[in-house]
Amino acid sequence: MKNYITILISILTLSFANAQESKPLRKVETIEIQTSAQCEDCKERIENGLNYTKGVVFAELNDDTKKVTVKYKTSVISAQQIRQKISEIGYSADDVKATEPGLNKLPACCKPGGME
């Protein structure tokens, strides 16, 4: 009997734990991503690149923190895909590094160390 109860409790605990992890996302989410943007041109590239991406409601880069606030529809695009898009434009997004082809497309002032 004791064993049975233990098993039952562990199953219930596990299911609760799982339930917390698979809590459904809201239809529209807002996230903040740290980018390697340096200047006005960078801000335009990131914002324009994201604003025309399917699923993004809007993207706004903060000039002081260089973090981009993105509001997006979860059914169309995911946060990781957004970071991937930023890296394709040529900038790092949180822990995702900028891609080589993206970096090469940027003018000198936008590459890391370009504004110094």
């Binding site: 200047c39 006005e40 000039d63 002032c109």
Partner: protein, 743 residues
Amino acid sequence: MKKKILSIVTFTFISIVSIAQMKGIVYGSSSQVRETIFGAKLYFTHNKSGVLTDKEGQFEVILPKNLPDTLIVSAIGYIPDTIIVDKKDRFISLEITLYSEQLLREVVVAIKKETHSVSRMKTLQVEQISSGELRKAACCNLSESFETNASVDVNITDAVSGAKKIQMMGLDGVYTQIQMENIPYLRGLESSFGLSSISGTWIESIQITKGTGNVVNGYESMAGLINLELKKPLEMERLFVNTYANRFGRLETNLNAGHKINEKWSTGWMAHSSGMFGEMDNNKDGFRDLPKGNNNALLSRWNYRGTKFESQFGINGYLDTKYGGQTGFTTNNPNNLYGVQIQSKHIDVFAKTGFLFEKRPYQSIGVVYNLKYQTVDAKFGNRNFEGEEKRGYINAIFDGIIGNTNRKIKAGLSLVYVDMMQHLDSNKTLPLKNDRIEVVPGIFGEFTNIGMRLNTVLGARVDYHNLFGWQFSPRLHSKYALTEKTDIRFTVGKGWRVPNFMMDNISLLATSRSWLVNQKLQPEISWNTGTSLVHEFKLFDRKASLVLDLYHIEFVNQLIVDRDSIVNSIVFKNLQGRSFSNSFQTEFSFSPLKNLDIRLAYKLLDVRTLYGGEVQQQVMLPKHRGFINVGYKTRDKRWEYDATCTVFGQSRLPQAILGDGSYSTNNKSQVYPMINAQVTHTYKLWEFYLGGENLTNFKQKSPIIDSANPFGSKFDATRIWGPIMGINVYAGFRYSIHRKKQK
């Protein structure tokens, strides 16, 4: 002995302590370099005198007794900075870095590009309209570029020719000097129809200066100065296309292309073509509400940038034909209808050369050259006007400093040559001629002093006109920074111009009233004085600003167009008695949300002259005017909404004899609103816009007097105070490939 040593030690200690001072070094940082600043000023807020940095950028300043205090550091071309200094900061050494205005403008303004702003830095009161603001309305030609602005009004002066003129401080556009990149423009024969020769899509920004402008720009700015900055080859779009159509049948297309040839050379091309194909007569008076016709212009400009020498030159051509008057009117006119036919064309060559001195970066010499040939042929029914003008202009300016960059000096020479021919009614019994050759050499000087809080610009020019003699025009502008957020400006200056009574008033040919000129017309001279207050503040933690200005213009002499003395004539004469303009304007701007801008303005105009024996308000000029503009841009930057509402108060109308022979009784106009709105959608390189003008469909009833008998003595199409056409709907698109910044 011990006492002595103690006293010496004490004395030394006290002296060290009492002369509390601070020293340091000031650097200036711009996008290219970071170096020490010579002549940067450092001063405390409660201490009037300050110190300047030496050649190595070093300074030593004595700390005031009352600490903490704020130390202000400023230098020309850099954004000033402040440091709070406390007792504990004695004996410290500071390293201060100031950032270049150019650099910071790029970064700071990027937070939200202000499309419309009143300059805080300039000594004169300058309002700036940037390309962002020009996008808010259709802006296909220059007259439409002022639709969202409260300081400059655009009016139609008659019901048949489609002529549009600007107005500043209640005075006709001829009293405002218009320049294209500091080259006088739209004067002489182009004063009435010239606004359609520049397309709004050619313009990068517009600076509106109230009060007489700098003496460097000439003597003709009496009410104000409008400077048009056209797009430059290296900053303009690589390719730009704009197409526009409206419900009246107007079609327009514009094309711009900027190209970098090599490190030193670049070129820009701008083309504009528009046509009015619709036959519109909404008020059913038998006359076209807008003339038909077409309008084409082309501008080509070239830039050369070397190490010691810079130059720009360009050529601009324009051809405009209009057919107005009764519906059905064509050039051969088989049915003898009343027609208005106007053809204007010009060819204009301009050049600017600049010489820089390597060893003296604060000195330069610039020369501006301009050659222009223009003709205007206008026929209003049976009356005709022919005009031809050849013009040459040279202006050489030396720019330098005295001692340090806080004292600037400009001096120069100018020469104007004009060969003007204007003939009126040559086929009638009383022809009028106004031919003249003008040679006007001039010399000018301007001294600018940048103080801690007070900036002063004092200038004077002396010109010798071959027909009218010596003219001396002094001008003073000053700006006092009352607080970091408030500026007070004061200006007083004299301006003058030689009137062209025919071209300046060409709309008055749209009537059978005879033109009488019995005197030799003298140059128009006026004194303009004014004061303004610009205050920036936070309202509910959001950015807001308030501008108040008051100007008084007093004419010493003026060309008087008197429509009141003799009922069926227009008398042109010199001023007798007083003529003045008082204008008061207040403008409040506020951004309640990050992407929402609101502007409210009120203007009071009191413009009076001795007309018909009485000092009366100028005709067709409302005394009160209200204005509100709201602009909203969505967060994803894809949609932009803009709406403007202007309310025009009542104005005085000249007395007229109506078609049935009776005199007009109600000589006052109605109060009416003018509402315009536009929606713009951006998609990558494309922009689509849809808008409306005069959304309340307000029309002036019966704008033409005796429209049934256009060749009769009572015909008068000049008594216009409101819109003739009703609601307008337009749509268009723009495609632009911008130039990416390369560093």
